[in-house]
């Protein structure tokens, strides 16, 4: 699914913010990415959702080297990835419904075929009544749910969430985690960056990736050489 091999990232002439990052993400697995602020979590996620190319190393996504991938092929890969941003990044002039429908419209789905999936998604996140509300009129939790619905409506193979519970109360955090687990059970690989240690303990079989000072802590080598690969 995803393979990082000695990946490094630097912005400009400064020292690397990420160095020698190597890991393999197995299809259908659930990962937590943790680490102190400034450790490079967001930078790592940016490379995962193809918003940033590494300065060195190899990144393979869906069995293709995306570092050397021609730019015009990136959209096809991005459509297989769902992203929940820490700041939601909902488009402010679009309603909740239109924000959720965005990935399908981009993918060229006809309007007639959008109604069903978008309606289901609105029901799933419990925002049927607020379908036509603009993001500015939604609460933080509602915006977060819209962002998640937008990230998953196109059934991505890889779901990436950056601090998805940072802006919501503990109850809502648990509900959002439930949504991620449900998606994971449907086969989506999930990567959640979080500081919340309680959240991590609530998911069975989740694997933890810890970043410190731009390096991935992997003392046993399990992240780089996961059991499934050894077999």
């Amino acid at each position: 699914m995803v393979e990082f091999d000695h990946v490094g990232l630097r912005y400009g002439p400064d020292s690397e913010v990420l160095a020698d990052i190597s890991f393999v993400l197995q299809p259908g697995s659930f990962y937590f990415l943790t680490g102190p602020s400034g450790a490079g979590k967001t930078s790592l996620l940016k490379m995962l959702y193809l918003a940033q190319r590494p300065s060195r190393g190899i990144v393979r996504l869906f069995n293709e080297d995306v570092v050397t991938l021609p730019r015009q092929r990136l959209p096809g890969f991005r459509r297989r990835i769902g992203v929940v941003f820490q700041d939601f990044r909902l488009i402010p002039h679009l309603s909740a419904r239109d924000n959720i429908a965005l990935p399908l419209r981009i993918a060229g789905v006809e309007e007639a075929d959008l109604t069903g999936p978008v309606g289901e998604m609105l029901s799933w996140i419990g925002l049927n009544e607020r379908a036509h509300a603009l993001p500015a009129t939604l609460s933080g939790g509602e915006q977060q749910r819209v962002a998640i619905a937008r990230a998953v409506i196109a059934r991505p193979q890889l779901l990436i969430a950056d601090e998805p519970t940072g802006n919501v109360d503990p109850d809502m955090a648990m509900r959002l985690l439930g949504l991620f687990e449900a998606l994971n059970r449907l086969g989506t690989t999930v990567v959640v960056a979080t500081h919340d240690i309680h959240l991590i303990s609530r998911v069975d079989n989740a694997q933890m990736m810890r970043l410190e000072k731009g390096r991935l802590a992997d003392p046993t080598g399990a992240l780089r050489y996961p059991p499934a690969n050894k077999a």
């Binding site: 193809l50 190319r53 959209p75 991005r78 990044r89 239109d98 990935p103 419209r105 981009i106």
Partner: protein, 302 residues
Amino acid sequence: MIIPRVPPQHRAMLAQNRLSGPTPWVLAILMLLTLLAAAAGLSLARAANGIGGAIAGRVTVQIVTANPEVRSQQAQRIRRAAAAQPFVRAARAVPREEVAATLGRWFGTSGGGDDPVVASLPLPELVDIDLVAGSGAAAQTRLRALIERTAPGARMIPHAEWLGPVANTIRTLAWVAAALVILMALASAAVVIMTARAALGTHYATIEMLHLIGATDQQVCRLFQRRIAIDSAYGIMFGALVAVVLMAVIGWQLTGVTSGLGASAELGIGGWIFLALLPLLAIALAALTARVTLLRALKTML
């Protein structure tokens, strides 16, 4: 396609407020000036060609012999001899009254038979000769020889010698107008480029989001190109409308002018077709410029 087709739901991906602010108004002004310059250029070119055509084959023979009777006889001989030549289309002795009237305008008098000033002058005899079109310099040489044989001392004055510089000046002005049209087209393109770049800056967050969701450059470009092309079209058509009104007013004012430059300052069907095509070309240029600018700028984003 100049204005790309984008489904209504996709158009909403960009905020509904107008993209380009003052751009349509700037383009309207540029289009107005472009059309006026183009119309002026076309009419000047036609006028220059008209004058050129009229003077290219015309000469006036001036007979200044002291004896008025001999002068008159020489003029008639020249007219008859010239009219018999195959390279001469027409020859006409200018009546004394016509010469006197012309001089009277210069002296500020009536120039008529009772005008003492003109009557006191020894007026030359004039013969206007029109050569056959395209007869060239050889015909003038033969005519000069004929005049020397028929009336020694008579002067042959080709009109091109003294009206030529006027025609050339008008022609130069026409070229200046053409240059202005090109410069204003470039200025319009520059306005569109600035608008496109500003639009990309304003909507950067939305574009980034659309890219991350999997939108291609073409998809994003179509959204902006459509909006810029429509804004530009509004401005250009408004400017063209005002220009048409102005040209109609100028044309109406020239209706009473039946001679000289005014009469030749017409546009002709070809000119009007060219002027009608200019706004359409401008819209196409705006859309194409927007597209190229947008695609180049989008390529710099990941």
